[in-house]
Symmetry: C2
Subunit: 444 residues, 2 copies
């Protein structure tokens, strides 16, 4: 019954994609209003900022701290929160609070939004997500405020704490200082709280809920185990890589003591997946670190989280599939479980679209930006947008108007997910239950 | 029976990889001898040149035309021919000519070398490959010689014709002029003959034989149809892309008349897949053209040909697999045929290794080469080596000794094929016929 199967996916996908688009346009309009900024901004800059906030990317063409009024900054924070937790979740929560019944249609949209396999328990999941968000962001905000209040006063200190907790847990990477978090390079209390929020946010609600429910590592789902192992491996490995590459670099970690070297190398490993805060000047990194950061940004965090990129699990599934080819096994397997062909194909499609988007995006930028800009800057910007990371080699403000549009579209694709967008655009195929004869093809 | 299955692949793979390695070392030693060069070269340069010749890549650290004696140039031509047609083919041909019996073991090696599915008819295939090579290279050599003899005399003209026909049909890209084929940018008789040889060589023997045997397009195998359609699409599309990107560039096609613009844009579309000749200065290209060229180099030509890269069919199979995900079909299908899961997984593994090799290789180059060299140069060099293309942004001679080693290893991996190398290195897994329970993983 291919038609029903398709209806399951095309309609929710369309609604999700259009919802994000509507939210972006609404946000752009509000940020464009005189009340949001001190001296006004162009519509393309307002659109870029709204896209960056809703898609929790954090790339900025204007300085968030000096351009926007308190009102504008609160709008940005709300866009981050709604974009991060998902407007579907917000809409369902409001409906539940108002005592309305949630029908099959809404459940199907939720299923697509969360990337869930089953239809049952979606409403409970929505409520649990809300509770987790409030608890985690609340704790983060208080911890950060405790650090900020002595310096900025109670009102500003609380707002700064809340803004950065929301920005961190939703992996947005917006900060209210012109140099992002570079002023806190020696401040473990700020960097570690932010890092913890970023890591939790990047694992995804599915994993956090699984840990809260099961309370035992051994009984966790295969998905949670993969995410935890993959995340730990990427974090530990990348901390060592950055320590080795940047330890002696006078522009970054070189002048620091050993404690701060470790702290900032760890922070550099955390943020490309996909927070986009920076505690050192990205433009001062060695070419090797820039390249390694691109890899981390392309991989991103976990599915069903605020992270972009191809996702840690997609990468692991593909590695396992390749391993099954090398060892000539029939099944793709991991930790005593078999992974179905459908999951492998879905991971393949995601990585394929990721590659196509990054290539096409940076190719377009070679056309829109002046020749000789340097491929590494364009590629870095594109991967950062696709991974909704928001790190930049200080190049975003120099983008041409067309370039800003390209990056905006990539942020959108990165946040909504290339597969969801593809489903939203796909024409439902006609039912065709014919099975063709098999023929082999050589593939090198 | 996984052990037997593995024995089928590990042993021939090991032999193929070691054979190529031996041929490279032998070639390096001969090119290092005083008789091969006018003024001597370092061993690393001899090794690099031999690797480049045996892996039919065409990257050069020294000028082939002025560094090597006639003897050295003939050695390079023979290395290209043996590396291109494959030393297994040569060995089998000699054995057949000597009237020796070819056993199962040799057939298994041939099967791996040709990437063939079936074990029958391999000897006949070997003989047919030899005939095709002699006929095509002979015709090409005569056509080119007809152009060269008036200019260089009979002896030199014939040698130049033969050398460049061998270099073109084996997709090697070595030329006996310091500026490669830039002196023939306005000479359709040379560029079109070379282009024809390159295209035929890049299609692969399987396709050429299929065309010769069937004589009808409709009865061609799915593999041949895919290769022909894919190659035509890439050639036509890329000619138009280069015409658009370079038509007005004063450093490349700008000063040419319309006929030469088309001729050279077509040539630019042909050579990255995977010939490595150039009729215009690669360093003069726009950033966009450089990037597009990298894409073509990564894709490469056909399996069972002298081309490197991930291969046209792997790309098409992956696109079809992604399409099956989008349309929610059970089967991956093309032109009324079903493509098996095994073929898709194999294509996936090849592209995966391709990505890993290109990333790892260029990452290593950021470490071995001075900071600030420019990522586009390092990436271009790496992709060119992996695709055994041999184009360069004039950077190869500036590589550090360690960088030369990195590029040599990548050329080797590109030529032998990442899967074959992986099989050669793989430890045979223990028999484990357990089928684990299925569990789904979210891949976002
Ligand atoms: K971000
Ligand atoms: K070549």
């Amino acid at each position: 019954m291919p038609e029903i199967k398709n209806a399951f996916h095309v309609q929710p996908a369309k609604l999700l994609a259009l919802g994000f688009l509507g939210l972006i346009l609404l946000g752009a309009f509000i940020l464009w209003l005189p009340v949001s900024t001190h001296e006004g901004i162009s519509f393309i800059d307002a659109l870029f900022t709204a896209t960056s906030a809703v898609c929790v990317t954090g790339l900025t063409v204007v300085d968030t701290s000096t351009t926007f009024t308190l009102f504008g900054q609160i709008v940005i924070m709300l866009l981050i929160q709604v974009g991060g937790i998902g407007f579907v979740t917000i809409a369902i929560l409001i409906a539940v609070l108002l005592g309305r019944r949630i029908g099959l249609r809404e459940r199907l949209v939720l299923q697509e939004a969360y990337g869930q396999v089953s239809l049952s328990g979606l409403i409970r999941l929505t409520q649990q997500i809300a509770v987790i968000t409030v608890v985690v962001e609340g704790c983060g905000a208080l911890l950060l405020a405790a650090r900020f209040i002595p310096e900025y006063g109670v009102g500003n200190g609380l707002f700064y704490g809340l803004f950065h907790a929301v920005s961190a847990f939703n992996n947005a990477g917006f900060a209210l200082w012109s140099d992002n978090l570079m002023g806190f390079a020696h401040d473990a209390s700020v960097l570690l709280v932010i890092a913890a929020l970023v890591i939790l946010g990047g694992l995804g609600y599915t994993v956090i809920l699984d840990i809260v429910r099961k309370k035992s590592v051994r009984r966790l789902s295969l998905h949670s185990k993969m995410m935890l192992i993959g995340t730990a491996a990427l974090l530990i490995g990348s901390t060592l890589v950055f320590l080795a590459l940047e330890g002696d670099n006078p522009k970054t970690l070189g002048p620091m003591g050993w404690g701060d070297k470790w702290l900032n190398a760890f922070f550099m490993a955390v943020v490309p997946r996909t927070a986009g805060f920076n505690s050192v000047d990205m433009a001062g990194l060695t070419d090797s670190s820039v390249y390694w950061t691109m890899l981390l940004m392309f991989i991103g965090g976990g599915p069903g989280s605020t992270a972009g990129g191809i996702k840690v699990t997609s990468l692991i599934v593909l590695i396992l599939a390749v391993w099954s080819v090398l060892t000539r096994r029939e099944d793709v397997q991991a930790m005593g479980r078999r992974i179905s062909r459908d999951v492998v194909f879905r991971a393949l499609a995601i990585v394929f679209f990721g590659g196509v988007i990054v290539f096409a995006g940076s190719f377009l930028l070679t056309l829109t930006e002046p020749d000789g800009t340097g491929l590494h800057k364009l590629l870095f910007e594109t991967v950062s947008a696709f991974g909704t990371v928001g790190l930049s080699l200080n190049f975003t403000p120099h983008l041409s108007p067309l370039g800003k549009l390209v990056i905006s579209v990539i942020m959108f694709l990165g946040r909504v997910g290339p597969l969801t967008v593809a489903y939203a655009l796909a024409i439902p195929p006609r039912a065709k239950p014919i099975r063709y004869p098999k023929e082999d093809v050589l593939v090198g």
